[in-house]
């Protein structure tokens, strides 16, 4: 066990730092550009210099870097205020799925454009009747010659309105048990028959959408895995989703709330001197470092050739609630002005936004309850829930009035 960089890692870190210092975009450069344009500018610059998606093989636009080097890159990049975010789903979820399941030609065509930021991808999984019970999805694909014809509706699709491609799971056979009748594809989001409608969230944003499919045609060549193997392919995507969501904290981290507690007062003294404030902050520090080092332990396993397992679900499970609780507590520390946001707000006016965004983190990518089921079943080996839909054809599964 050694938390320090090896000499090779230290050299790599230095190289990363120097490149970032010379190339991270200035606020001047980014002025006037929207989020997508900013993200594309930075992504292209990284790609051209060989610093995009560094863990990927060189032939697909990466750098053949190790898992540890990738962490070092992430640590150093996070010290700079650089744009990003719109590529997370494509690079973090679609790309690993393509690498595992697509043909060599498809990988060579699509992965470099994901790495360079030329193309943005979205994930079309959830449906009105298939959220936590994802395999209950109903949007259907019917074979017609060399193509499939898609009809139905997806929901909660982040970034569908600006995406070039999407990964999608569809029902290709309703007459077999639900997990066996699914097939996985990728498709062009500009295909005729796709209609994207934004959904306004409680946080005020509209990052995700309803996506309607009316006789949308997708070539059979864009199928990933066999017909009926869609659930297995989807699991590749989902494991990567939880690892990706686990990383973020929406800007509400220990350091930020600690600084707030130094500035605001309780009984004329800095709040940080109050023992109840200290106790809460200590607990969050423990969670934050616990998650960080749990992640590093997974990386060590990864670099030894072991496959990261369902224990990655912990990051998202703990991180999302922690962010919610910290945002709520930070607002309390501001006392009477805790709820103020917008123009009049002081620098800590970000907490109401984080508070309103937090419930989404506990639901997206598998709710807290699903994460707990996964840990209980796949890590601890406890039995699955009783499932009245098990083993019966999808078309005969009972449904309620609300779905």
């Amino acid at each position: 066990m050694d938390f320090n960089d090896t000499p090779a890692e230290a050299t790599f870190r230095q190289e990363v730092r120097e490149w970032l210092e010379a190339n991270a975009p200035s606020s001047e450069e980014l002025r006037g550009l929207d989020e997508i344009a900013r993200s594309k500018l930075w992504q292209k610059r990284k790609y051209d210099a060989g610093w995009a998606c560094i863990r990927w093989p060189t032939e697909y636009g990466g750098r053949d870097a190790t898992a540890i080097e990738n962490v070092i890159w992430g640590q150093e990049e996070s010290k700079f205020s650089v744009p990003g975010g719109v590529f997370g789903i494509g690079q973090g979820m679609a790309a690993p799925t393509l690498m595992a399941w697509a043909s060599e030609d498809q990988k060579r065509e699509h992965l470099p454009k994901l790495a360079s930021g030329e193309n943005i991808w979205c994930q079309l999984f959830s449906e009105p009747a298939g959220g936590s019970d994802l395999a209950a999805l109903r949007t259907k694909a019917e074979k017609d010659g060399d193509e499939w014809v898609i009809n139905g509706q997806k929901i909660w699709t982040s970034g569908a309105h600006y995406s070039d491609y999407g990964i999608i799971v569809l029902r290709t056979d309703p007459e077999v048990p639900k997990h066996r009748g699914l097939t996985y594809f990728f498709l062009d989001m500009k295909s005729p028959g796709i209609e994207v409608k934004p959904i306004k969230q409680i946080s005020g944003g509209a990052n995700f959408n309803e996506v309607y499919f009316t006789d949308v045609r997708v070539p059979d060549a864009q199928r990933l895995g066999e017909v009926g193997q869609g659930w297995q392919v989807a699991l590749t995507t989902l494991m990567n989703e939880r690892a990706a969501i686990g990383g973020g904290g929406g800007g509400v981290g220990f350091n930020r709330v600690y600084r707030l507690a130094q500035r605001v007062t309780i009984d004329d003294k800095p709040a940080i001197e109050d023992s109840s404030v200290r106790a809460k902050l200590a607990d969050w520090y423990c969670q934050e470092t616990g998650l960080k080092y749990t992640g590093y332990r997974s990386l060590t396993a990864l670099s030894r050739g072991e496959t990261p397992g369902p224990e990655n679900s912990i990051g998202k499970l703990v991180g999302a609630s922690k962010m919610q609780d910290m945002a709520s507590f930070a607002m309390d520390l501001c006392e009477l002005s805790g709820a103020v946001q917008g123009e009049l707000a002081e620098e800590y006016g970000m907490y109401p936004g984080a508070y309103m965004g937090a419930p989404g983190g506990r639901i997206a990518g598998g709710s807290d309850e699903i994460m707990l089921n996964i840990l209980a079943e796949r890590v601890l080996g406890m039995p699955q829930d009783v499932r009245p839909d098990k083993g019966i054809p999808f078309s005969q599964i009972p449904t309620g009035a609300n779905n």
Partner: protein, 373 residues
């Protein structure tokens, strides 16, 4: 960067686990808990023969001279087995204090005996209810003697030597003394976990040797607590893991409403939450161990982090283990009580959760991380 134990360290873990499952089954814990023996002498003897007491003691003082990575592997397994022996007092506290602060003569005199288990050591710190501070202490020293009462002192009834914290008029307000306990009044104190014995030590002009320099006893006490906290945390993590395994095993066998109760989400989610807390605590223990072995500037912060999360994890795992067992978990006959008792004992033995939460923030304030923030 490398965040796992080496193959050799994992082999040691396997050996320790198999030795303790043979030599320290729950019946042994029960025997000490219910009987008059203060600790399992046979187990103590075997542990000494395996060299565990001398893991980090340098070879020149009769030890094995290994790293703290080996010692934490043993600590976790002792915690898992709820071993009824004075290991934490003698190894994490007394041996550590002499190793860190003792003169060469003091090391020559005591470490070889502590390394073989011939002598048992302890740390005489507390003086009744409340959080100790240099001004709250009453035990005092004069003319190479100490006078006062220390209680509860873990393993104080069986210890041969104690590190005693006394007041001091100068410096940081405290001194550490090395005291041979022969001739000292050692009265047994009953606690909620009789599988680990405790005593009240009454010193009356008892001959004592200063440990470390005068007027720096409070600083040394805190350094010692920081070091010991990592080792205690591993015992706590070992206990948490064992409590989780016991709860799961019972839930898999116990049927209600026509199926194992392990199939109900109320139980699945409960035990998944135990697993989450255990995992975070374990990862923080890795962090603490690294800082302990390197004795680096992050030790105070890393040890408090390991300590707080392990204390919380063990308490949670032990109470939810009883809950999972239902009525049977509340019976004397079942072993669930051992974990619940030990969890609370370990959580107060070197200071409470809230004390360590406070220490964590203090350590953060003094660390580089706060400057960088």
């Amino acid at each position: 960067m490398n965040f796992e134990f080496s193959d050799e360290q994992n082999q040691l873990r396997d050996q320790a686990q198999s030795f303790l499952s043979d030599n320290c089954p729950p019946e042994k814990v029960r025997k000490i808990l219910e009987g008059d023996e203060p600790y399992d002498k046979q187990l103590w003897q075997s542990i000494a023969e395996l060299g565990w007491l001398s893991t980090v003691i340098p070879e020149q003082y009769g030890g094995l001279g290994l790293s703290y990575y080996e010692l934490v592997v043993i600590a976790e397994e002792l915690g898992r087995a709820l071993a009824p022996v004075p290991f934490s007092s003698s190894v994490y506290l007394a041996s550590e204090a002499i190793l860190q602060f003792g003169s060469d003569a003091q090391k020559q005199k005591w470490l070889p005996r502590l390394a073989t288990g011939e002598a048992i050591g302890t740390f005489a710190f507390g003086e009744g209810a409340g959080r100790p501070s240099p001004t709250s202490l009453k035990t005092a020293a004069a003319d190479q003697t100490v006078s006062g009462t220390k209680y509860p002192v873990p393993d104080g009834d069986v210890a041969d030597v104690a590190i005693v914290v006394t007041t001091c008029d100068s410096g940081d307000g405290a001194n550490l003394y090395l005291v041979d306990l022969s001739g000292v009044q050692q009265d047994v104190v009953s606690t909620l976990d009789p599988s680990r014995s405790h005593a009240r030590l009454t010193f009356d002009k008892t001959p004592a040797e200063l440990l470390g320099s005068a007027g720096s006893g409070w600083g040394m006490t805190n350094q010692l607590l920081d070091r010991a906290a990592v080792l205690f945390a591993w015992e706590q993590v070992g206990g948490s893991q064992a409590a989780l395994e016991q709860a799961k095993a019972y839930a898999m066998e116990r049927y209600a409403f026509g199926r194992p109760i392990a199939g109900f989400q109320a139980i699945k989610h409960k035990l998944a939450n135990v697993y989450v807390k255990n995992t975070l605590a374990r990862s923080n223990c890795y962090y603490g161990t690294w800082a302990l072995d390197e004795n680096n500037a992050e030790l105070a912060l890393a040890s408090a982090t390991a300590r707080v999360s392990s204390t919380q994890a063990f308490y949670f795992a032990s109470k939810e283990n009883i809950q999972t067992h239902g009525g049977m978990g509340f019976t004397w006959e079942f072993d669930c009580q051992f974990f619940y008792r030990r969890a609370k004992l370990l959580s107060v033995n070197i200071g409470s959760e809230s004390w360590w939460q406070d220490r964590l923030i203090t350590a953060y304030e003094q660390s580089n991380q706060a400057d960088a923030a």
